[in-house]
């Protein structure tokens, strides 16, 4: 049992630089391996539709005839399942989260 157990800790941190960063002046540094926004590489895609079939939230839409790949950013949960199964490695997860999606519109590529 003790008194003022917190004082030492509080005093130490009163004299130390805050552990928080000065966001937004100091942007957050993404950690390597962080699951951020899904990035699509059009050149290598063969529009096989595997990603669209396997996406657990139904965020992806692929049209083989028109050679179109689309994503609903509000539905994507950045789980990385599509990245794992893509046979041509056309998909990748960026470490950054990108700008927030504000509409339900699909992003076409």
């Amino acid at each position: 049992m003790g008194y003022f157990e917190m004082s030492k800790l509080a005093l130490k941190w009163a004299l130390t630089k805050p552990p928080t960063s000065r966001y937004p002046f100091e942007p957050r540094r993404a950690l390597a391996g962080s699951r951020g926004q899904l990035v699509f590489t059009k050149d290598s895609c063969v529009y096989c539709t595997v990603c669209a079939k396997k996406c657990p939230t139904g965020a992806l839409l692929v049209n083989r005839a028109q050679k179109k790949w689309a994503i609903d950013r509000l539905r994507c949960i950045s789980c990385g399942y599509c990245v794992e199964i893509c046979p041509k490695k056309s998909l990748d997860l960026s470490t950054s989260h990108g700008s927030p999606a504000v509409t339900r519109d699909r992003e076409f590529h």
């Binding site: 157990e5 917190m6 509080a10 552990p19 950690l31 391996g33 699951r35 939230t57 990385g80 997860l93």
Partner: protein
């Protein structure tokens, strides 16, 4: 003495999630607590009929935002039992390490909320400062801060190389040092002890009879921990349940404080003993049959009941979460306490309502 009903929740400063209690009080003594839950029911069990059994791992992980990894792990364990999948040992060790990291961040979150609940703001900030370091480890190794997304049927999605493991163990040393400073305040400071001791006492027999789980049960002196069943790598890593005899709010706080260091020890053992090899096996076919899986979440034992009929969708998916098991005990200890102690008692069961309602 006339009786008054004081509504507590669903919105209350100590409640991160919505639960409503009608507190019947005489003067300032609670004589009865009538609960109502159901504010955040999302119908996740029913969703098993729409999502196939592989996709459902993502849903299981989202049952709870704090014990997300262990929910995913328990679901995978149940499916692996149904399909007779032999998970590679390396994957089991990685699951154990991530499960314990999730326990550390959950307990630190709870300690912060507890400090906030009793008005100890600086302690709250420091608990969450340390938690942030744990979240950084989790993000660096799995890619997510609270939704790990690294468990899949047949193994895990990500591996840790030798350098990552070395860095993680070094970081863990620093975290342990920080946790010692914080837990010293929780365990030894007079103000914390006076606020929590002797409040919400749950005797050993009652805790057992009411079916309590996790730290709530262990704080009443019952040495029950599902990790002793030997799932994942716990068959090679021994776990001695942390217990306290008092059964009050202080004992529940002390059990969680000690479990932080127990988890650090388990992670160290798991990562030092981790065998080489594959991290996943390919799983084909559909599950059939009925099984249960039990694991120890930060809040206590979780039970998954799965029924499958050979199709890609499960026939029935049922979860008994630790908060649901601890609610009857909370209602048992509330009568007789002071109105001012209600937030402390409610917090010490570590209520996770989104878990309980799914």
């Amino acid at each position: 003495m006339p009786r008054t009903i004081i509504p507590f929740g669903p919105q209350h400063p100590v409640l991160p999630e919505p639960i409503h209690l009608d507190l019947v009080v005489e003067d300032e003594k609670v004589v009865e607590a009538r609960p109502s839950i159901g504010f955040v029911h999302r119908g996740l069990e029913k969703l098993a009929e729409k999502k196939d059994y592989v996709e459902f791992v993502y849903v299981a992980e989202r049952i709870c935002g704090i014990c997300s990894f262990i929910h995913g792990q328990t679901y995978c364990q149940a499916i692996e039992t149904l399909m007779n999948v032999q998970v590679p040992p390396r994957a089991l060790y990685l699951r154990t390490a991530w499960g314990e990291l999730s326990r550390i961040h959950s307990h630190l979150l709870w300690l912060g909320l507890m400090a906030d609940g009793m008005g100890f703001e600086s302690l709250f900030m420091h608990s969450w400062r340390v938690r942030e370091k744990v979240l950084n480890i989790i993000e660096a190794t799995t890619g997510g801060r609270v939704i790990f997304g690294s468990c899949k049927i047949g193994g895990v999605r990500r591996d840790m190389n030798a350098e990552t493991i070395r860095n993680l163990l070094q970081e863990l040393d620093a975290i342990e040092k920080d946790m010692r400073q914080i837990t010293r305040v929780f365990l030894d400071d007079n103000s914390v002890k006076s606020r929590l001791s002797g409040i919400g006492v749950l005797p050993k027999q009652e805790a057992h009879d009411l079916g309590c789980v996790g730290p709530m049960l262990r704080a009443s002196g019952v040495a029950q921990d599902m990790r002793t069943l030997g799932y994942a790598a716990f068959k090679d890593i021994g776990v001695e349940p942390v217990t306290r005899a008092e059964g009050d709010c202080y004992a529940r706080c002390a059990v969680r404080c000690e479990e932080l260091f127990q988890s650090v020890g388990i992670i160290r053992q798991a990562l030092e003993k981790i065998p080489d090899g594959d991290i996943a096996v390919k799983v084909t076919g559909n599950p059939a049959g009925e099984t249960i899986a039990r694991t120890e979440q930060p809040r206590g034992e979780v039970v998954y009941h799965l029924k499958a009929n050979g199709t890609k969708n499960l026939q029935r998916f049922r979860v008994r979460t630790p908060t649901f098991a601890n609610l009857p005990a909370m209602l048992k200890v509330l009568p007789g306490c002071d109105l001012a102690d209600v937030p402390m008692i409610v917090l010490t069961i570590d209520p996770c309502i989104s878990c309980a309602e799914r």
